[in-house]
């Protein structure tokens, strides 16, 4: 360690300091690293002194920011440098070598390094050994970088040291914090049963160092299980009393005359934790949820009180003393120290069921603080006022300080501005919304870029929540877009469009406003979008106003077209089409103009624009048809504001007590409170009363014309649709704790994204029993915390029958699929949609194809941008018949967690079938010529799901089997036919006959025939699978030796190998009859 000189090290540091530039420094560092590396190679020649020196040099180089990718082992090995307990002196000498090892190791490595494992035994020996020096070193290292393995093997020993009466306080305080580290990281591993008595004893500790460390430990233990430690509460209060009264505190523990401010703070936190944990355990809620609901809890008198009257009285007295007895003094350090305690006491009072008097004292103090010049105190005043708002009803008192708070919004320090913004956002209600929002808008034009997005989002939310009337809301949003268009997300303008669409009274006003903005010389593209949309819908309501004739509006909008991007052009085209439609009587000149634009874009490279141009042109040529399709959009269904949802999602990222989210949550339910407000024109109108209006679905069950209609505004409604499904991601328990932790790197092994069929060697050519196949193919494994939305199985089965839909969805991503099938070829497109406002990283999609399918997946981007959808085409080719299913192994990283899901792809047998109708003349010769196994198989199955013949026919049709009516003379039977396509065999006709027993619907006899034995077998099994949970037969060996396979089938209840000659074959009987 060399507290005294270590010349080589000093020389090296001087050398580095004398370097003229970065390049020289790098050369010097490289030289030194080379030197150290060679010296480490022949380690035997190194004296302990040299080892220490080199390890220190490495740490210095590392600190300079260079990569040190070797020597970790050497550092760790220093920890276990040999010790000679029989020679006390030698031990001391080695001791300092170990010290270097410990210190450098804990600076150079983190808990995830494998090397650390090598040291566990040595560390343990040091901890249980009697040498204080080593105990301290080991405890320090474990306290700083100990991971799970350390917790597993060391926790009991550390616990012993903490309560040992023979150890010096020096060792015990380290043991307390070391235990805290192990407990925080792995509460499941560290056994603290029965520790409440021990902790209570520790609180009587005379040494304030040990007491400080133990208090930190207690804070963590209480948050985890408050009940067990309830007995510690009176002692905490006593400690606080002792400190606050400055009784019996050694001089060295007072800091500028304040008795250990840190310990006082820590005790307050601990008491506060008691209170919050009680609720969190009673209501099984997370702590940050509790913080949100403290107010309600208090109102419902669920809020815990300190029951013991003596403790309660003492606590109130001591808090009162702190609140009243803290004066502002000249000395900065003393001032800070006393206010540190004061603010913590304030926080405790807020959460305590305190008398109102005390609460109003707090508010008064905070009011004082937010007006002082001292920036730190002002900052904390604002911050704590925001917290106060969340837990008590102090709105009215705080509103008195509104002007003061607005001044802070203009403070040069961004930290203060943010706190002021949070507070303004929190204190906003119907009475002051107008003032506050206008203040925010005004500030927006001068605010720095770092704050604009947050500002505009908050202004938009407040305007929506507390709008005194809706026209004001529209004004605010349009101003917002005008002033900070770049920072206004799409959600904001979608939302205003929803409001306007759903409120008829608002429409003329909004259209007129939009028209005004269009006259401005340069407007933001978002403004072009929203005004074009609004004018397209409602410009006819303005027809009589000056400057608002269709032609004028059209040219005002069209002027902006050259300035906008391709995403806006489709909206403009829709607007043109709508204006044209609304122009009554038709204006031939306008029509000509618009048509010219449409025909110009008919060859546009952007598909969306091209499609719209062509369709609008065709539609507008038809005249009357246009009227219906381009009519006003129907009302939107009532939904939670996407903005508020966005705030909630963002919340997961922000820390526990950030004001925004707390308020957002509290007001979530009344997001649409504007109900009984009156609009500008005086008619009562209500957003809350919006009736649910079904939007015509895009898939077009309302008919093709409607489909057009929707497609015209698809962009808008789709976006809304997507937003509406956003679920706030449940915050993972240790999210906050590990936010700064490394992202778990557990990606898939570097397999190629594109997988050849033989990539999965286990499947290749080897006959696999059905059970095994099932084990491979199957079932969505949810290895992670991300919970899928909806049932993955159901989604898969649905997609087996249709060609587009959602394959998978969770809070972060939606995977849609769209497929086209042509003979043995298929083209699937995966739509990967990121639902979050942050990008999804490390996206990986891997196809595990069964042997019979050749699947090529195009490149999947590694990152999906926020709210974006990427398309990944997938080419499928069917080689031969099989019921195996391809699996999509999909993973992505969200925050720190890796999500991985295995999804079956709906590239199943029936996708390669095409219905074919056969006549009796075609059917019977075929049926007869396929005379028996392996080409024709027959089986009686029992225990099937009872189905009527019609239902069964429907199932068959959905699987691309044509049900041939009237071929079978028996009305209880059913004959179906289809063609199967694959690369290896010709398109193959398949014939199926089902015989039912009208008296027992659970019993069937199935006969399947085709020109390929494998196909016959697979199709038979497929049909059995579909007709109910019939156990499936094992796959026949490849090439299938069909006749042998059947009788060995243990699963089928009755397996009859059919004899071609046997007259029992109904087909033959049938044929014979005809």
């Amino acid at each position: 360690m060399a507290l005294s000189g270590m010349r080589g090290l000093s020389v090296f540091i001087s050398d580095i300091r004398n370097c003229q530039n970065k390049e020289q420094e790098r050369l010097r560092v490289d030289k030194e690293l080379g030197n150290v590396r060679t010296r480490f190679k022949n380690e035997k020649g190194l004296t302990p002194y040299e080892k220490k020196k080199y390890v220190w040099k490495m740490l210095y180089i590392y600190m300079l920011g260079y990569d040190v990718d070797f020597g970790h082992m050497e550092a760790v090995s220093l920890i276990s440098a040999p010790k000679y307990p029989e020679k006390q002196v030698a031990l001391q000498s080695i001791g300092t070598t170990n010290m270097v090892g410990y210190i450098v190791t804990s600076s150079l490595l983190n808990e995830n390094h494998d090397f650390l494992r090598l040291a566990i035994n040595t560390v343990r020996n040091d901890i249980i050994g009697r040498n204080e020096t080593f105990q301290c070193l080991a405890l320090t290292m474990v306290g700083n970088i100990g991971g799970r393995e350390f917790a597993e093997s060391l926790a009991p020993d550390v616990q012993k040291l903490l309560i040992s009466s023979s150890c010096r306080p020096l060792v015990r305080k380290k043991a307390a914090l070391c235990l805290l580290r192990l407990f925080r990281k792995n509460p499941d591993v560290v056994n603290v049963d029965g520790w409440s008595d021990r902790m209570a004893q520790l609180l009587d500790e005379r040494d304030l160092g040990v007491l400080t460390s133990s208090m930190s430990l207690l804070v963590a233990l209480v948050s985890n299980n408050h009940e067990a430690y309830w007995s510690c509460l009176p002692k905490c209060v006593k400690t606080l009393e002792r400190l606050a009264r400055n009784q019996d505190i050694p001089q060295e523990y007072t800091y500028y005359g304040i008795p250990s401010p840190w310990l006082q703070v820590s005790v307050c936190v601990c008491v506060c934790n008691f209170l919050l944990s009680v609720i969190s355990h009673t209501f099984r809620k997370r702590k940050n949820e509790i913080l949100r609901e403290v107010k309600t809890m208090r109102a419902l008198q669920y809020f815990p009180t300190v029951e013991d009257p003596n403790t309660r009285r003492s606590l109130f007295e001591v808090l009162q003393r702190i609140l009243m007895g803290t004066d502002v003094v000249k000395n900065v350090n003393k001032n800070n120290a006393s206010h540190a305690v004061l603010f913590e006491a304030l926080a405790l009072v807020m959460h305590l069921d305190a008398e109102n008097e005390m609460m109003s004292q707090c508010v008064a103090l905070l009011g004082k603080f937010i007006a002082v010049r001292e920036p730190n105190i002002r900052y904390l005043g604002l911050e704590n006022m925001t917290r106060m708002l969340m837990v008590t009803d102090v709105h009215d008192i705080i509103k008195r300080h509104q002007a003061q708070i607005i001044t802070s919004l203009k403070d040069p320090d961004i930290s203060i501005r943010r706190r002021a913004l949070d507070l303004l956002y929190g204190m906003c209600d119907v009475s002051n919304a107008k003032d506050i929002v206008e203040e925010l808008l005004q500030y927006l034009s001068t605010a720095d870029f770092a704050m604009r997005e947050e500002l505009s989002l908050k202004a938009a939310i407040l305007a929506e929540k507390f709008a005194p009337d809706l026209s004001w809301y529209v004004d605010v949003i349009l101003q917002l877009i005008d002033k900070a268009g770049d920072f206004v997300s799409d959600d904001i303008w979608f939302r205003v469009v929803q409001f306007v669409t759903n409120n008829e009274d608002l429409q003329p006003y909004a259209a007129a406003k939009a028209r005004e903005y269009l006259d401005k010389p340069a407007i933001h593209e978002t403004m072009v979008k929203v005004s074009a949309y609004l004018l397209g819908e409602y410009s006819h309501l303005l027809a009589r106003r000056p400057g608002c004739s269709p032609k004028e509006i059209f040219s005002a909008i069209h002027e902006k077209l050259p300035t906008v991007s391709t995403t806006t052009i489709p909206i403009l085209l829709s607007t043109y089409a709508k204006i044209l439609m609304h122009t009554q009587p038709p204006d031939p000149e306008l029509q000509k103009h618009v048509w010219a634009i449409f025909s110009k874009y008919e060859s546009c490279i952007d598909v969306e624009i091209q499609q719209r141009a062509i369709e609008y042109f065709a539609l507008s040529s038809k005249g009357a048809a246009l009227m219906d399709i381009l009519a006003e959009m129907p009302k939107f269904p009532e939904r939670q504001s996407a903005l508020i949802k966005k705030a909630e999602v963002a919340e997961v990222d922000t820390a526990e007590q950030s004001a925004i989210k707390l308020r957002a949550q509290q007001h979530m339910t009344n997001a649409l409170v504007v109900t009984d407000q009156h609009s500008s024109n005086g008619t009562p109108q209500s957003v809350g009363q919006l009736s649910l209006v079904k939007i015509p679905s895009i898939s077009g069950d309302v008919g093709s014309s409607c489909q057009e209609h929707t497609s015209a505004d698809q962009e808008l409604s789709q976006a809304n649709g997507t937003l509406a499904t956003v679920d706030p991601q449940p915050p993972s328990a240790d999210l906050l704790g590990d936010l700064l932790g490394p992202l778990a790197i557990e990606g898939l092994p570097g397999a190629a994204v594109l997988s050849e069929p033989n990539a999965v060697s286990g499947l290749e050519g080897v006959p696999i029993p059905a059970d095994d196949a099932a084990a491979i193919v199957p079932v969505e494994k949810d290895t992670n915390s991300v919970q899928p939305i909806g049932n993955i199985n159901e989604r898969f089965y649905a997609l087996c029958l249709k060609d587009s839909g959602v394959l998978y969805e969770d809070p972060n991503i939606q995977i849609g699929i769209k497929a086209e099938w042509r003979a043995q070829h298929g083209r699937l497109v995966l739509f990967l949609g990121n639902k979050n406002t942050f990008p999804l990283l490390s996206v990986q999609a891997l196809i595990l194809p069964p042997v019979h399918l050749k699947i090529e997946l195009s490149l999947v981007p590694e990152t999906i941008p926020p709210r974006a959808q990427v398309q990944c085409p997938l080419e499928v080719m069917n080689l031969h018949p099989s019921r195996d299913v391809a699996v999509l192994d999909f993973s992505y990283k969200c925050g720190t967690s890796m999500a991985n899901v295995k999804l079956r792809l709906p590239a199943v047998l029936n996708k390669f079938l095409q219905p074919i109708t056969v006549s009796a003349e075609e059917f019977f010769p075929q049926w007869r010529s396929l005379s028996g196994p392996p080409l024709k198989l027959q089986e009686v199955v029992r225990g099937v799901r009872p189905l009527s013949l019609i239902d069964m026919a429907n199932i068959f049709t959905s699987f691309q089997l044509t049900v041939c009516q009237g071929l079978d003379p028996n009305p209880n039977n059913l004959i179906a036919s289809t063609t199967f396509y694959s690369e290896t065999i010709r398109p193959m006709l398949c014939l199926i006959r089902i015989e039912t027993d009208p008296t027992d619907r659970t019993q069937l006899r199935i006969t399947v025939a085709s020109g390929d034995p494998t196909l016959t077998f697979e199709l038979m099994e497929f049909i059995k699978e579909q007709l109910a949970g019939i156990p499936t037969a094992p796959r026949p060996p490849a090439p299938p030796a069909a006749p042998g396979a059947q009788p060995t089938n243990p699963a089928a209840p009755v397996a009859q190998p059919t004899n071609p000659a046997a007259l029992t074959d109904p087909g033959d009987l049938l044929a014979g009859l005809l």
């Binding site: 360690m1 060399a2 507290l3 005294s4 540091i13 004296t47 002194y49 220190w56 740490l59 600190m63 990569d67 000498s93 001791g95 300092t96 270097v100 210190i103 600076s107 983190n110 306290g143 700083n144 970088i145 991971g147 305080k173 914090l177 070391c178 805290l180 580290r181 925080r184 304030l208 160092g209 400080t212 930190s216 060295e252 523990y253 800091y255 250990s260 840190w262 936190v269 350090n333 800070n336 120290a337 206010h339 540190a340 913590e344 920036p375 730190n376 040069p412 320090d413 961004i414 930290s415 203060i416 990222d653 922000t654 820390a655 007590q657 950030s658 936010l739 700064l740 932790g741 490394p742």
Partner: protein, 177 residues
């Protein structure tokens, strides 16, 4: 809890970095760069607190050195601010009138002091006297080990030459000890 402690000069050179949460090296460099950028241009009249990702940084400037602590959002800002000052007072006492160069050439000692002051991201000892005394103990230990080491080395050298020269009588008892 303290996530990490950084000592940086105005140019952004790191003089001490201590992480109480596991971070990859590349992430550490990024954090050091970002924190420096965050604090270096702030006016002295500004608050000593600034939001950093989902945490907050409490920093204080002493001459050309920035002491930054990254702590949880719910932690008490002023308490940590004074914790920085206490640390500086300890350094000042230990190095008697500390300056940046002391910290550069004795960075290893600074690590030692820090380990006596903060452990596992929490305050371990708030008594200046206790920490200075502990450092004294460690220093003594080191001196002793240095002494023993040099004696051992000398003896080794002497042993190899003992055939030619008589060993100095004064050294032999020490070796035996």
């Amino acid at each position: 809890m303290i996530r990490f402690i950084l000592l940086q000069n105005r140019q952004g050179k790191t003089r001490l970095a201590k992480y109480y949460v596991p971070l990859e090296d590349s992430e550490k460099h990024k954090v050091e760069y970002e924190v420096h950028r965050l604090v270096v241009n702030r006016d002295s009249k500004f608050t000593n607190f600034v939001e950093f990702r989902t945490h907050k940084v409490i920093y204080r400037r002493y001459a050309g050195l920035f002491f930054s602590l990254c702590v949880d959002i719910t932690d008490n800002e002023l308490a940590y601010l004074e914790c920085i000052h206490l640390f500086v007072e300890i350094l000042d006492h230990f190095f008697s009138n500390v300056c940046e160069l002391d910290l550069v050439f004795n960075f290893h000692k600074v690590y030692l002091i820090l380990d006596e002051f903060i452990l596992a991201g929490e305050l371990q000892e708030t008594s200046k006297r206790a920490i200075i005394e502990r450092m004294g103990e460690l220093e003594k230990l080191e001196l002793k080990s240095q002494a023993i080491l040099s004696v051992k080395l000398t003896c080794k050298n002497l042993d190899s030459r003992s055939q030619f020269r008589l060993p100095s009588p004064s050294l032999s008892p020490l070796v035996a000890a």
